[in-house]
Symmetry: C2
Subunit: 361 residues, 2 copies
């Protein structure tokens, strides 16, 4: 609706993912695509043209210039991970609310500096994990919270991989140690770890052990790895992430009474409809030849793609701060930090030859 208040977004960095986020900002009913910055004006102009920016949107040839624009509320930062500390901190100092691409930092210590800057400046922080905002995710959580249908969570397995092509392996920032030192762990592993935490209601595991056999590139970047996570109450989880196998995006959560299975968690197979499969109190029939009851598939439709839901939710939170004088919602920062902490621990475990690593606080 044209009468709905709009939060003004600026984007610093014309990464591929910025195209998807630009469209999401355009489609969100309470957000507005207001500016883009690149290191050159030419690149920013080309990006704005290619991505249907409104004619009144501003085009900047430097990130600083965009951050100095008082008519921007939120800055989306898709820059290489090693640049997050500098630019997210500066954005916060300039009183910009922040949408930060994942992995949010090279380590939790750097993230803490970013979050401190956000807190000191009273700005909202959210990372770019889109699937969390799909309405399917809330429906799945209802199932996981159902005492009779799912019971107590015991085990989770999460897997996200894609087969990177030759040019990715040569040029992508995610395989450059100076740009994205966590490699596949920070990229696809971010989603695996976050999904496990999500299933566990963000209760932190006590220990992490990387699975032997992590694949490390000649440049020292993780191309594939996995780990198991262990909680004090006996819950456990495993994940596998990789740039080396066909696209796969699963989560299986096992409870004492039920099972949740999703095979397209991070990006749904189709944009406006996503499904999940649950089974509860499953037995076999008398001769053990079939399941009783059969698992059931639940389809969740959404008019707004998940990344639009993210922009909408973030804009709502920013509106609360900007217009209603509310405090930033720290939920999202806390979840990002927990995810980052686990990634850090997995990395240490790999570096220490797959030893058990206690999760820090």
């Amino acid at each position: 609706m044209s009468s709905e208040p709009k939060i003004r977004f600026g984007i610093i960095g014309c990464a591929d993912i910025s195209r998807k986020v630009s469209r999401a900002i355009t489609l969100a009913p309470n957000a507005k695509l207001s500016a883009v910055a690149s290191r050159t004006l030419e690149k920013a102009t080309a990006f704005a043209t290619a991505n249907n920016f409104p004619s009144e949107a501003k085009i900047y040839g430097s990130y600083e210039a965009l951050l100095d624009d008082p008519e921007i509320d939120v800055v989306y930062i898709p820059l290489p991970t090693t640049l997050h500390l500098k630019w997210a901190s500066l954005a916060a100092q300039k009183k910009k609310h922040i949408l930060l691409e994942k992995p949010v930092a090279v380590c939790a210590t750097e993230l803490d500096q970013i979050l401190a800057a956000c807190e000191a400046n009273g700005v909202q922080f959210m990372d770019g994990t889109m699937w969390l905002h799909h309405p399917r995710t809330a429906k799945m959580k209802e199932f996981l919270h159902s005492k009779d249908g799912f019971g107590e969570l015991k085990t989770v397995h999460s897997c996200l991989t894609f087969a990177a092509d030759e040019s990715f392996h040569k040029e992508n920032i995610r395989v450059k140690p100076d740009l994205d030192s966590l490699g596949a762990l920070g990229d696809v592993g971010w989603y695996c770890t976050y999904s496990i935490l999500w299933a566990a209601d963000y209760e932190m595991p006590k220990t992490v052990i990387a699975t032997p056999g992590a694949v490390i590139s000649d440049a020292g970047v993780i191309l594939a790895c996995g780990a198991s996570l262990h909680w004090g109450d006996g819950k456990s989880a495993t994940f596998h992430c990789s740039f080396l196998t066909n696209m796969t995006s699963t989560i299986t959560a096992l409870g004492t009474k039920g099972t949740l299975q999703v095979n397209d968690l991070v990006i749904p197979v189709v944009e406006k409809e996503a499904s999940f499969v649950v089974s509860s109190n499953t037995k076999v029939d008398d001769l053990m030849t079939s399941w009783v009851p059969a698992p059931s598939q639940h389809v969740v439709s959404t008019d707004l793609p998940q990344e639009v839901c993210l922009i909408q939710e973030l804009s709502h939170l920013v509106w609360e701060v900007k217009v209603n004088g509310g405090q930033p919602d720290l939920t999202w920062a806390s979840r990002s930090r927990k995810t980052q902490q686990i990634l850090d621990a997995v990395k240490v475990s790999i570096e220490k030859g797959f030893q058990t690593v206690e999760i820090g606080t």
Copy 2:
């Protein structure tokens, strides 16, 4: 067809699973339910009546008596695992072909004695892993062998669990250390391990590491555990098996070019139709908002349930030996042994505090 030659089966032990196998023998076109033995004649009689044995079937009050019957070709042995060595060896000595329930032995050393008895007496050996004989399994294998569709296998995850009820935890042989010392590892873990080996074309891993957090009962029996398996070429696999969570039966195999996913591997949800999902060379669309191409589901129908296919296949192999003077097919024994070896290694790893264990030969 009535003209088809029939292999004559005897069953020693009236376990629950014997009911399913009795029906399978009845339904298999080349097999015949010829005898049942229990430790008492009453129990064997009641079993035969309840399971529609033909009127001419023989009822025995001791296992020995059935083994001495010259009109039995194959003996099905569903006895507790600790009794397998004694009864399978004796059956082989009596020149009976053998269908042995899983886990086939308490350890590979005992299995070797059983297999030696089979070899010395020229009898066919097969274990009771039913899903291997479902026509879906061959279709899935075609996909895994497709160079363009699946590429090279890199990782497998397999999971089989069911929520055992109170009476199971009190009384079932699978939680009694003197009857089935491998617990959940030998029961549901058998299938996980076998399915991983199946995906890897029975190439043996070099090492195994049990995942910390295995749940052991007061009696010392494994109720839930997992492990990772590692091959010399970098392939890896993980599995999780448990008596403590809702029924779940998945395998996900990841190749360089494709993914195979099945959510009802061990027992299909319905008896005469089973499906699997594959994706090949999966990309996302230009804005990373959907999968191209979408995964595809393949449905495989079968007139004969998987356990009937097993009986049919075994009967065919026995016919080759009995009538055509052929040699026993050692394929099945070899696969059983590899599975058992891995279970042994996982158990040692658990006992050694989740250390890496080299797989023996």
